[in-house]
Amino acid sequence: MTLSASNISWSVGAASIVDDVSLEVREGEFLGLIGPNGSGKTSLMALLSGIRKPRSGEVILDGVPIGRMGRREVARHLALVEQQAETADRITARQAVELGRTPYLGPLSPWSANDDAVVEATLENVDMAHLAGRLWHTLSGGERQRLHIGRALAQKPKILLLDEPTNHLDIGHQIGLLDLVRRQGLTVVAALHDLNHAAMFCDRIAVMQAGRLVAVGRPFEVLTAERIRDVFGVEAAIEIDIEGGCHIRFQAQSGRGGRSVSMGDGTGKRFSRS
């Protein structure tokens, strides 16, 4: 199952949000999507999932333009976990995962034992079986996010699209969640904020800047000091270890409001102006 975008654009009024992006997602890979706030990551995810139609260009799922497939058909192959989807309904953890079976159920086809089996296996898979009966509003952010992943997995997709899945989670839950996603062995496209996580979990990284795709490649190819300065406006030192893993250390700079800070690297670049 392959997913690709060819020259897709999307705009709101005169403002161009996604600008002529072409991207090929390889089967089985974990593709990270990085870029500053407002660079069009979320919109690109919505376009890739087919829930939004591009103004121009095409998203192609397994050789077929996604706009020409039925929504149900798409949902059986591709699942999207949006950023922070919330509900005020009194829904249980299990019911949230059960929603994932929607693409397989019609008005006249009843819930089956197979659906039950899928839901139970999924709850085990995302380590929420012990909380299956708990109500949504009593669960923590990390638990809710695992259920969202579970709902997507219950769709039995080949491709998983995740829009900033680790937002608002503590570091333990962030790593745990990404690990959980990688264990599934699915094709994954994930918009990520943390560059080190992207470097750690992704086979390839795509960089968005002002609606354009400015780079795609292996983490150590893409995450260079120049590019991070150019795209995010922060200074960083990159270390590449012998296995090709890459580690980014950000450096604070006055007046720029760098996002994450490590206490200098001994080069004396960190200074303050008052």
């Binding site: 949902a75 949006e82 509900t87 309904d89 929603l99 008005p107």
Partner: protein, 327 residues
């Protein structure tokens, strides 16, 4: 079980009133009328039960069911616990239509007051929909458009009433606006029953789609729901049901707002169960409210909307409190 409760409520509705009629007589009347059973009965009793009370109870039931269904559907689709059938501007449009016919004499001779109300409701709904589409995507657009549309049509109604109505007409209109089942007869029931049944079927057909809206429209889309088609079908059927009911009985508040919350507290959020339960509670509640409206002040009929609001407003406050408690 549901049918038993409904029949019991209808039975009560037919038996209780200014003159109580024994349950047996009610049963015999129905048997006479439906199966030609030929029980000897007082023609007056039989007349009251069949032509007056039973038709009235049936319309009340349909109306309650339809409003409750619309409420469930709109609250689920728009992800807003405050949504009710009138949020689409329907009741405001209906009252403008009604006063246009009753006071301005629009379409004189051909248009009856219910017809005026029905067309007014549809015009208002069309306008609100247009506005919502113009205002762009998102559920807030529909709600805001509905508020704007309702205000506009309410203002028009007030304008017409103040400008042209006699005191007598104004009182009549006020009574109608608050909901009134007094004039209801069997022909109304033959309109209300198919509308409510069609509504129930269409809503049940979309039960799983409604479930999929739990986490919002985008999430529903990613679960394989055609969001636009679902909106069209469900908002359309809600508008149709509400317009029919409003044109028969006037705008009865709080049923479409409160009953869905009550049903959700009882049976949870699965729409395949929630929809029929809400319809049943709505039907029974409306029959009981109608009985109350007839017997509360001896010799006088209270507008049923007064009863539903008197019960509904505190119930709604209670529901709000519950929501807060688990916020």
């Amino acid at each position: 079980m549901a049918l038993v409760v409904l029949v019991a409520a209808l039975w009560l509705g037919a038996a209780i009133g200014e003159t109580s009629i024994p349950f047996g007589v009610v049963a015999k009347t129905v048997a006479n009328r439906l199966w030609d059973a030929g029980y000897p009965l007082e023609p007056i009793d039989e007349g009251i039960v069949w032509s007056y009370r039973l038709s009235r109870a049936v319309v009340a039931a349909c109306c309650g069911a339809a409003l409750a269904l619309s409420g469930v559907v709109l609250q689920s689709l728009l992800r807003n616990p405050l949504a009710d059938p009138y949020i689409l501007g329907i009741s405001a449009g209906a009252s403008t239509g009604a006063v246009s016919v009753a006071i301005l004499g629009l379409g004189a001779g051909i248009m009856t007051l219910p017809m005026g109300a029905f067309f007014g409701a549809l015009i208002a709904f069309a306008l609100v929909s247009l506005l919502a589409v113009k205002a762009g995507r998102g559920t807030a657009a529909i709600i805001l458009a509905g508020v704007a549309g309702s205000q506009l049509f309410n203002a028009l109604t007030s304008f017409i009433v103040t400008k042209a109505a006699t005191a007598e007409q104004a009182r009549g209109i006020m009574f109608w606006l608050l909901g009134n089942l007094s004039g209801v007869r069997w022909p109304d029931a033959w309109l209300a029953i198919p509308a409510a049944l069609a509504g129930l079927l269409v809503c049940l057909w979309h039960a799983r789609s409604l479930d999929a809206f739990t986490f919002g429209a985008e999430s529903a889309a990613s679960l394989g729901i055609s969001v636009r088609r679902t909106y069209l079908a469900l908002v359309g059927i809600s508008a149709m049901m509400t317009a029919v009911m409003v044109s028969i009985v006037g705008s009865i508040g709080f049923v479409g707002l409160v009953i869905p919350h009550a049903a959700r507290m009882l049976v949870g959020i699965r729409h395949s169960v929630l929809l029929p339960v809400a319809a049943l509670i709505g039907a029974v509640f409306m029959i009981l409210a109608d009985i109350l409206s007839r017997v509360l002040i001896p010799g006088q009929v209270l507008p049923i909307g007064v009863i539903t609001a008197l019960v509904g407003a505190p119930a709604f406050a209670f529901v709000l409190g519950q929501r807060r408690g688990r916020g």
